[in-house]
């Protein structure tokens, strides 16, 4: 059967300021196929797709839908050509219901009636096997429910070309498999599906063809059946690299941070941490796995003194004098005054860890400006530190007075991690430290974490990529809706086991907890 072309791009180019996001990209997608767009973070995958869906406008180039040249100036134009995009950061209005979000922007001339919309949503759900309550408000939904709303939104408009931007980043392995089944059903329905990803095994399992992008350029498009992981990696990175992460053996691990029966409720009255206990040991990397929003952020923030706890304790064992102190409900300053050297690389780098509009020197000063009794600032020490970090971590920046917001994602993260390591911590917590980084920068971060591990630091690593967690960490605790559902040895576990624990219902998890923490249970004072 002759395949019909659904979408074709020719010579598409887009620049942001001086940065070339896409350079002269050609791409063809056929109806009834799943095409993967593979590339490192920052290679221009999302920019390219945003141009197809009308969010950005290309500087140069031509686009053809079903053989006709089209100009897509806005998302509305994209819909008119039956193109629909499911963004990585969901584009949903939180205070609206599912149906309101789905019908948003559609003016089909019919009378506006939410009841009709609800019925059609249920109809579509049945056809493709979704499970959704059309009246539920978005802010009450889980991530995977939100994604379902996004997909229905696109189907509701009768899209023939679907673009999914990193759809699996927030899903468990099981949810991912379910999504892939839906995608296959849609493909068999004759739709053209483009899926953006940087995970190789997903590419191989779901797609028919793969297009590889590198630094904004289209490298090649190949049939999935005729390729393999190492070939794809080479195309993606441009050179052969080994994908193995080192995992040195821990040296004389000792208990450093003991978290006991920690409970925490958020401002909406929802229990966000439920009786959490674990121990982080020096010279080990402790991984934390879980679906986004299972309490990872609150857990790290409560250790760092940013979150009020309902009950429980966080005991810190000081290696210098063998004393134990409770960090619960202390402010970051009080924790520092206790002589606890705690470093924290938060998930939100430019919103929390750094100040985007300040330069590298002033950002270095964040941790040290309070030192001394003078009311004036001392900029000398931070200036030296900035220079040192720029050199040792090879940060690409014009100079130390460039606002960090102008740096690329990888360099921003190096500035942050560099500053946190500079204070010679005894506990280092890092939340999603490689999110959005290219492969090179990611390996730099892994190397830095391993260096800290070798120095005898207790490292806590919150990750989303289970492959990385399993390869890098010594021990992994799994969180599911604020509870610890399992603590596993990273050397012997599998991704599938962790995936099951991530969605495990809570009643079963009690046993796992008891066996792990039975020895420390009696220290609890509620």
């Amino acid at each position: 059967m002759e395949r019909s072309v659904a979408l074709e791009l020719r010579g598409v180019t887009k620049t942001f300021g001086k940065v070339i996001a896409n350079n002269n990209v050609d791409l063809t997608v056929y109806a009834g196929e799943i095409l993967s767009i593979l590339g490192e973070n920052g290679c221009g995958k999302t920019t390219l797709m945003n141009m197809i869906s009308g969010i950005y406008f290309p500087d140069r180039g031509h686009m053809f839908v079903k053989g006709e040249e089209v100009v897509i100036r806005s998302p509305k134009d994209a819909f008119d050509h039956k193109i629909g995009m499911i963004h990585q950061h969901f584009k949903l209005v939180d205070v609206f219901s599912a149906s309101e979000n789905i019908v948003l922007g559609i003016d089909d001339g019919n009378k506006y009636s939410l009841k009709d919309v609800n019925n059609r949503v249920l109809e579509i759900s049945e056809r493709y096997g979704f499970n959704i309550d059309p009246k539920k408000k978005i802010y009450e939904m889980s991530v995977s429910e939100k994604q379902t709303v996004e997909i229905i939104k696109v189907l509701y408009r009768g899209a023939d070309i679907l673009i999914l931007d990193e759809p699996t980043a927030v899903l468990t392995p099981q949810e991912t498999e379910r999504l892939f089944n839906v995608l296959r059903r849609m493909r068999d329905d004759g739709k053209a599906i483009i899926i953006i990803t940087h995970k190789l095994h997903e590419v191989l399992s779901v797609s028919d063809r793969v297009a590889v992008l590198r630094r904004g350029e289209h490298i090649a498009t190949v049939e999935t059946a005729g390729t393999n992981e190492s070939e794809l990696t080479e195309m993606m990175v441009g050179k052969k690299i080994s994908l193995n992460i080192e995992r040195p053996e821990p040296k004389e691990p000792k208990d450093r941070l003991i978290v006991k029966n920690v409970n925490c409720t958020n401002s909406d009255g929802i229990k966000i941490l439920d009786n959490i206990s674990f121990t982080a040991r020096s010279g080990e990397i402790l991984g934390i796995a879980g679906i986004a929003g299972s309490g990872q952020r609150e857990l790290l923030e409560s250790i760092a003194g940013l979150q009020h706890l309902d009950s429980g304790e966080i005991m810190y064992h000081n290696p210098k004098n063998d004393e134990e102190v409770n960090l619960r409900d202390r402010t970051p300053l009080q924790i520092r005054d206790l002589g606890v050297r705690l470093s924290f690389v938060p998930e939100d780098r430019l919103g929390m860890g750094l100040v985007g509009n300040m330069d590298i020197i002033d950002n270095m000063m964040l941790r040290s400006y309070k030192k001394g009794h003078s009311m004036f600032l001392n900029r000398k020490a931070p200036k030296n530190l900035a220079k040192e970090i720029i050199e040792s971590l090879e940060i690409a920046t014009p100079n130390a007075t460039t606002p960090v917001r102008r740096l690329s994602g990888g360099n921003v993260q190096k500035v942050l991690v560099g500053r946190e390591i500079a204070s010679a911590p005894s506990v280092l917590m890092a939340a999603y430290p490689v999110r959005g980084l290219d492969i090179g920068s990611s390996y730099t971060i892994y190397k830095l974490l391993n260096e800290q591990k070798a120095r005898g630091v207790a490292v806590i690593f919150v990750g989303e990529d289970l492959d990385v967690l399993v390869e890098l960490c010594d021990k992994i605790i799994v969180l599911a809706s604020g509870k610890v559902t399992g603590i596993v040895d990273a050397r012997t576990t599998t991704k599938e086991e962790i995936g099951l624990l991530m969605t495990k219902s809570t009643s079963v998890s009690e046993d796992a907890l008891k066996t792990e923490n039975s020895a420390k249970e009696d220290g609890c004072n509620g």
Binding site: P75, F96, G105
Partner: protein, 320 residues
């Protein structure tokens, strides 16, 4: 006496109602427009100028005067909205500063225009007073303040409420204010919605200025108080939790508080209480109540009472 007080409160309240209904539309599109006092001033000036020229030109038909007067006020104020939209939407300017500049400009423009609207010692536009105070213009009680524009205000508030919460256009507008990136990705013309909402909102707010002069105050100095009333209209938006139908009630309460200074003392039973309350301290009542409302709503902290999530932020599609 109490009846008079209530009628006065309603008539004055409608000035706030126009202002707050207009500001609600603007805020639902994501614009915090601190220029509303200036917009109301320009609305009043536009309406009065139109009336001036019509009356000087010999028009006596009441219906024509009212309709053209209202249209002129709407258009003049909507032009201010156009300036705001151009600066805030097209040029991505800071909304707070743009709003304040609009107030400076609007108040100045109104004073300049109103200063010129006289024929010797008489004020021609006040001759249209009877037409605006229809149907109670001949009444001797406070009923005469409840003219056409009072009814129009309530109708507009109800219509706006319906449009915002029960129609497709309203859904789209609220989406633009909550999350412009989402609305944009859904194919809604964010720029168009912001422009139209701001201009219509400002137009409606502008009617408030005209309403105050031609219905409530009816005096040559009336225009001097519009700026202060405009700020209360902005506060009323929060009081009404961004819902025009609640704003109807809120505006009457604000009206009642604003004139409490001249009514409460006479309503009190004892002479001694009357003297105590007569002080201008009562004049601060609406402001103090607004402050209390602000504090109470912030302490209660409920999700449905939040302002639109995108309020005060400019939207640039290609932001990275």
């Amino acid at each position: 006496m109490i009846f008079d007080y209530i009628l006065n409160a309603i008539a004055l309240g409608m000035t706030f109602l126009y202002g707050s209904t207009g500001e609600i539309i603007t805020e639902k599109a994501g614009h915090l427009n601190l220029g509303i006092p200036g917009v109301m001033c320009v609305g009043a000036a536009g309406g009065c100028a139109a009336l001036h020229y019509m009356i000087v030109g010999g028009v006596t038909n009441g219906v024509l005067l009212v309709v053209i007067g209202i249209l002129a006020a709407f258009l003049a104020a909507a032009l201010m909205g156009l300036i705001f939209s151009f600066l805030a939407v097209t040029l991505h300017a800071n909304q707070n500063v743009t709003g304040l500049a609009m107030t400076t400009f609007g108040v100045g423009l109104m004073k300049y225009i109103m200063f010129g609207l006289k024929e010797g010692t008489s004020i021609p536009y006040l001759k249209a007073l009877d037409a605006f105070r229809f149907p109670f213009s001949s009444s001797n009680s406070a009923l005469k303040y409840c003219g056409v524009m009072v009814f129009l205000a309530i109708i507009i508030a109800l219509v706006v409420s319906f449009v915002l919460f029960k129609t497709r256009v309203g859904l789209h507008l609220r989406a633009v204010g909550e999350n412009p990136a989402t609305a944009d990705a859904a194919g809604i013309n964010v720029t168009l919605y912001k422009y139209v909402a701001t201009c219509v909102g400002c137009g409606i707010a502008g009617l408030g200025g005209l309403c105050y002069i031609m219905d409530y105050s009816g005096s040559r100095e009336g225009y001097l108080s519009i700026e202060a009333l405009g700020w209360l209209a902005v506060a009323l938006v929060i009081f009404a939790l961004w819902r025009p139908h609640i704003s109807i009630l809120g505006s009457v309460i604000f009206g009642a508080l604003f004139i409490a200074g001249s009514f409460i003392p006479t309503l009190l039973p004892f002479k001694i209480l009357q003297t105590m309350a007569a002080a201008p301290l009562l004049k601060m009542l609406p402001y103090v109540v607004t402050i209390i409302v602000l504090i109470v709503t912030s302490i209660r902290d409920k999700k449905e009472n939040y302002p639109p999530a995108g309020l005060g932020l400019n939207y640039y599609r290609e932001e990275r």
